[in-house]
Amino acid sequence: MNATGATFDVLHELRAICGDENARERPVGGVYVSPATAEEVAAVLRLANERRLSVGCSGGSTEFNATKLHVDIVLHTNRLTEVEHYDHADLTVGIGAGTTIAQLNAMVGCDQLLFGGDPSLPERCTVGGLLATAAHGPMRHGFGGVRDYCIGVRFVTGDARRAKGGGRVVKNVAGYDLMKLLIGSYGTLAVITSASFKLFPAPRQTRTFLAEFATAKEALSFRDLLMRSPLSPMCLELVSPSARKIMRPEMEQDAWVMCVRAAGSDAVLARYRKELGSAVTRQLESDGEIKMWRAIGDFAVASALRHFHVNVRSSDVLSAVDTLNSIAGMAGIDLGVIGRVGIGHLLVAVLGATTEASAGIDALISVLHTRFTDIGIKVEGASNPWPIPPMNLGSMRAVKQALDPNNVLRGRQIS
């Protein structure tokens, strides 16, 4: 059988594993199954291996729409929501992969704790999806990526072995660091069923300082000054004029905006204000601040814009922005750019019709690839998230062969 649809007996067997109401046919062909436990996930994958069926994993479909998965079985994680442990005094939590980030935030927020991940659309984005795509939002600047605060993971390999890596303590080097391998692997190695995380004390007070500049160069000079200062903001985000217009259509003036979010007491925030100097044009707190960061976090995804992520050396950000604008100008497309520029990240969205956007993205990536070394590019919503084959593809394939020898997990390609 191939990815054109599962037969009736497969559906019947999946219903036997997960319950009648948790397996059904997909309108586009194949079946849809929603296991509730790691055992059920393993049983589904065993069946897939026996019948040589392809499986793709789906969480909240915020990064990749499950309807586009060309597989025999779409495995939805929405019923994997068990809280395995929540030790608020230890600042750790272990939770099912199908839990949404908003649900996790609500749980830990009651204890004045903070989860370090702030991906787009937190009401839909799941813990498993966050891990599988290594997604991040503006807090990536101050709290690191999910690889930095995920302390354990439970999963089922492509060949149906239930296993785990790490644990539930914040420091642990027993065994291989399987979290690192699975984070950002786009579900091509294993189905993540739950994960444990280190939590952070929630800041008692935050304030956002906005500084507007006529050019990207000026904005990034401001970034450089800040990075050399003693300040360590929780978010540091660049917003291009076009991106700002999408988020705030009422804004008429073109400006590159640097958004600096700081946490601390009145004295700490006053120090930020003093250090940031005359470049600051506005300050935001409370609802206004929350709304602004939500708009940045959901940019591109909320507007359904085709977009991709670029990671370059911090010193290459300006050059990357100039290159993007120059190529886009020649191609007649408009770009919206935001990014965690303190760590060399840019999110590039192509404004315009879908066909133009697709062609534009290909051209932009091709040029970036030839001009920059140490560049990482990920395209959201594409079958192959890495349009430029990773330089370690041989080792990646060896890892894939070790965990998914029958190539069952085919939701996404690895080049």
């Binding site: 030790d87 005094a89 230890d90 004045q112 290594a134 690191g144 990526g145 930095d148 390999t157 072995r161 239930r162 296993a163 785990k164 890596g165 644990g167 303590v169 420091k171 642990n172 080097v173 027993a174 065994g175 291989y176 660091d177 399987l178 979290m179 690192k180 391998l181 950002g184 190695l189 004390p201 929630a202 050399r228 003693p230 300040l231 360590s232 007491s265 700490v268 006053a270 120090r271 990671n311 050396r313 911090s314 060399g344 990240h345 990482g376 890495w386 430029i388 990773p390 330089m391 593809l393 041989g394 990646m396 394939r397 060896a398 890892v399 894939k400 062969q401 070790a402 690895i414 080049s415």
Partner: protein, 479 residues
């Protein structure tokens, strides 16, 4: 191939003076900072990636085991070669290749000493954050292999959080480049996977590390407690107050007296325990946190809270902590250091348990550890000349680590599994967990040429060579 021919080949690759095979030389490489010993058959000092590649090709074809070694400061037996093994010593690959201050990165060879890198970039206001207690001797290659920590990893994370790229020689001799200078690269995070793999999947020959900017203000406090229980409870009370110190270390009364006598760090001789608490960051923030920490300590019945007045006092307090293991050498011929981890709220209970274990087996156990992240280092005093004592010590260690696992912890927080704890892995991991890890090891190191006998339980060792005969993908890729 006869081993004499191997030696000859090694000399051709690395140079005549880069290979040791005399018994008096080899004795120096038969141990690390743990308690296991085994004399290697040769030691070779590669000087570049190409040397390592050629050595691994030779090892794969001739079938002798290779064990990479940094400074030999590891505490898990990870750098000890099996009989007939060749130690790949990185003492001659000790250069800082490049410092990119603008991007806060450095590219180093694996033999660079941890402290040396921070010293080299100090004039730029930068430093390398992972700071194992052995940082004056241990190498960054060793830090990468073990995913080493240190006191300040409470705030800044362990080695893997500070490595962005590396060059790796696979057991086949093929060279792969992982990651880079950027914060993220395309593809699987193989950089993250290789860090902490204890030299079982590849040999790291170049490492790109992240550097941090020196903080504006540092406050170092010494909380002095009458009882170890009060000190232990203070650890989670500080976290509960929303404060994440840069470091939060604890010494019990017996240990601090031993340390004080050796180091004269200014620790009180009559205390039940002390907490060494360091806060870093913006001046305003550090000052507020210092006051808050002081209040928490007193709320938890601290007798006194001192603050280092200047850098000299701070250095002295840290001298006591960093030299503590060595100081205990004055009290017994040897110590067995364990590395269990518990959730930090379990620290009071685990310390009581350790005290009970000491009484049960008649052993003196000191505690000096990274309390902030629950990483214990019970130091069990013994005389290695008495095999019965060593056996007792190992039984006591197992009891302690079993307890750590039972309360939700781990058998190692920063020292690695190596030889020492390989048979304790089933306490944490199921057969399937270990099978998955073994299949990944075999993806790169199926013949077990590289660092055999480490990390996996002895019972599983027989499967190391009878697992998947070879990874067809690696073969197809010419790897």
């Amino acid at each position: 191939m006869h081993f004499a021919a191997v030696i000859e080949q090694l000399r051709k690759i690395a140079g005549h003076d880069a290979v040791l095979d005399g018994p008096e030389d080899l004795m120096l490489y038969e141990y690390d900072a743990g308690v296991r010993k085994c004399t290697p058959s040769a030691v070779v000092f590669p000087q570049c990636t190409e040397h390592v590649s050629q050595i691994m090709r030779l090892a794969s074809s001739a079938g002798f085991p290779v064990v990479p070694r940094g400074a030999g400061t590891g505490l898990s037996g990870g750098a000890i070669a099996p009989e007939g093994g060749v130690v790949l010593a990185f003492a001659r690959m000790h250069r800082v290749l490049k410092v990119d201050a603008e991007n806060m990165r450095a590219m180093v060879q694996p033999g660079v000493v941890n402290q040396q890198l921070s010293d080299d970039v100090a004039h730029l206001g930068l430093y390398f954050a992972p700071d194992p207690s052995s940082q004056k001797a241990c190498t960054i290659g060793g830090n990468v292999a073990e995913n080493s920590g240190g006191p300040h990893t409470l705030m800044y994370g362990v080695t893997v959080n500070h490595v962005t790229g590396m060059t790796v020689v696979l057991p086949s001799g093929n060279v792969v480049h992982l990651g880079g200078k950027g914060s993220e690269s395309s593809g699987y995070d193989l950089t993250g996977f290789f860090v902490g793999s204890e030299g079982t999947v590849g040999v790291v020959t170049e490492i790109t590390v992240r550097l941090l900017r020196r903080p504006e203000r540092i406050a170092t406090l010494l909380g002095i407690f009458e009882t170890i229980d009060d000190g232990a409870k203070t650890v989670s009370a500080i976290t509960a107050a929303g404060i994440t110190p840069a470091a939060l270390e604890m010494l019990d009364g017996w240990t601090l007296r031993a340390v004080e006598e050796a180091c004269h760090a200014g620790y009180p001789l009559d205390a039940g325990a002390v907490l060494l608490i360091e806060l870093e960051g913006l001046t305003e923030q550090v000052e507020e946190q210092a006051e808050a920490v002081r209040a928490v300590c007193f709320a938890q019945r601290a007798r006194e809270v001192r603050r280092a007045k200047d850098e000299a006092e701070r250095a002295l307090l840290w001298k006591g902590r960093k030299n503590a293991f060595a100081a205990l050498g004055r009290l017994a011929p040897a110590y067995y250091s364990q590395d269990g981890v518990v959730p930090r709220t379990k620290i009071p209970a685990v310390l009581r348990f350790i005290e009970g274990v000491g009484k049960k087996y008649g052993l003196r156990i000191g505690n000096i550890f990274h309390a902030g992240d629950g990483n214990l280092h019970p130091l069990i005093m013994f005389d290695p000349r008495d095999p019965a004592q060593l056996e007792l010590v190992q039984i006591a260690s197992r009891d302690i680590l079993q307890y750590c696992v039972a309360v939700g912890g781990s058998i190692t927080g920063e020292h690695g599994v190596g030889l020492e704890k390989r048979d304790l892995m089933p306490l944490l991991f199921t057969d399937d967990d270990l099978d998955v890890m073994l299949s990944l090891r075999n993806a790169f190191n199926v013949a077990g040429v590289l660092n055999p006998g480490k990390l996996f339980p002895t019972m599983r060792m027989c499967r190391e060579t009878t697992g998947p005969s070879s990874n067809p993908v690696l073969q197809a890729e010419g790897m």
